[in-house]
Amino acid sequence: MSVTEITSAEEFRKVVLESQTPVVVDFNADWCGPCQMLRPKIEKLAEGGAKIASVNIDELDDLAEEYEVASIPCLVKFAGGKEIDRKVGLLPEKKVAKFVEDTMVGSDEAEVEEA
């Protein structure tokens, strides 16, 4: 699995809000250096099975505003259409991995929800 690039509010609703399993959204921008440095780690985790979507806050500024993202990088975890947790700023790789853990397809939670 790779990181899903969200290109519209409609896609955000489908991929994130209506997801049956938890999803982590990476709010970022092209000009944000720390976001660029975080990106390869996010991609690696997505390839490892984590469900991660990316929102460019310049292209989808309404979403950034709606979820009160005021500093990036910002990782927001959604479950059942609602925010359940967030991490702002750069994090150690291990903590990012832990944060996205319950979005893993095959994690206990995911299996229960998919059953």
């Binding site: 921008a29 000009w31 944000c32 250096g33 720390p34 660029q36 440095m37 975080l38 780690k41 806050i57 310049d58 950034a64 009160e68 993202v69 005021a70 500093s71 990036i72 910002c74 967030r86 702002v88 700023g89 750069l90 994090l91 150690p92 790789e93 291990k94």
Partner: protein, 301 residues
Amino acid sequence: MDYDVAIIGAGAAGLTAAIYAVRAGKKTAVFEKLVAGGQIVNTPKISNYPGTPGISGAAWSQALEKQASDLGAEMIYDEVLQLEQVDNGFKLSTEDESYTARTVIVATGLNERKMEVPGEAKFIGRGVSFCATCDGSFYKDKTVAVVGGGNTALSDALYLSDLAKKVYLVHRRAEFRGEFALQEKIKTRKNVELVLGYMPIEVVGDKRVTGLKIREREGTLEKTLGVDGIFVAVGKIPSNQLIADLVELDEAGYAITDDKCGTKTPGLFVAGDGRVKELRQLVTATADGAVAASSAIDFLA
């Protein structure tokens, strides 16, 4: 011993040290708790580093990390929590692992100084920011405060004055420490209001920041500035906690080294912004990295 050279911190100094150490045939590891590059990743455009005008800090950092790891430096993304001397070298401990190395180069740099007032920590990412160029665009047509009086505070205020409706520049002294040219520029910005002689005492808000409470430095007058965002630019502090017992530190916490980056502990070197020196720039950080690596290589000979 696991490594000949263990480097703590993958910023400009640490990664440059890694390049020199691996090219000298030394088994080298670089420990990094966050991401490669360090402070420079926040710089959108590097203008004063020789040979790469205009490159972004992130692109430069990625290239440097790739250079070091392609040459054979091992990148370990983990935080070193303890550094101690053992027979013939050092032991580095992370949360779950420990490693040994014959020499250690500490290149942990600087961290942002906080205002240390109530509400600050709670609102980081919800109105409190330490990086105007990172977060400024969230404040288009809004009101913000910049706290500080040095070059960073002045450039932040200038940068934000192009985006925000209004910028308060709050500084505890009557005069700024920053460059004269920046001060002159600030005066020409109609939407920048100087709030001098005041210090921050509380960040106010509910879900997000709504204000900054300030108090006269030599008085008792208090007031609250209604702001949507607060940019903190009150300086930086060296991240030398790890080596406090192994290295002489000056009053501000910077490591005192000789001109070869050596410390009072044989085999332990400090490179980059965290040591006492005149100029803290990318070019002096990389220079330190080369010097420290060369000292470590000599020590191993």
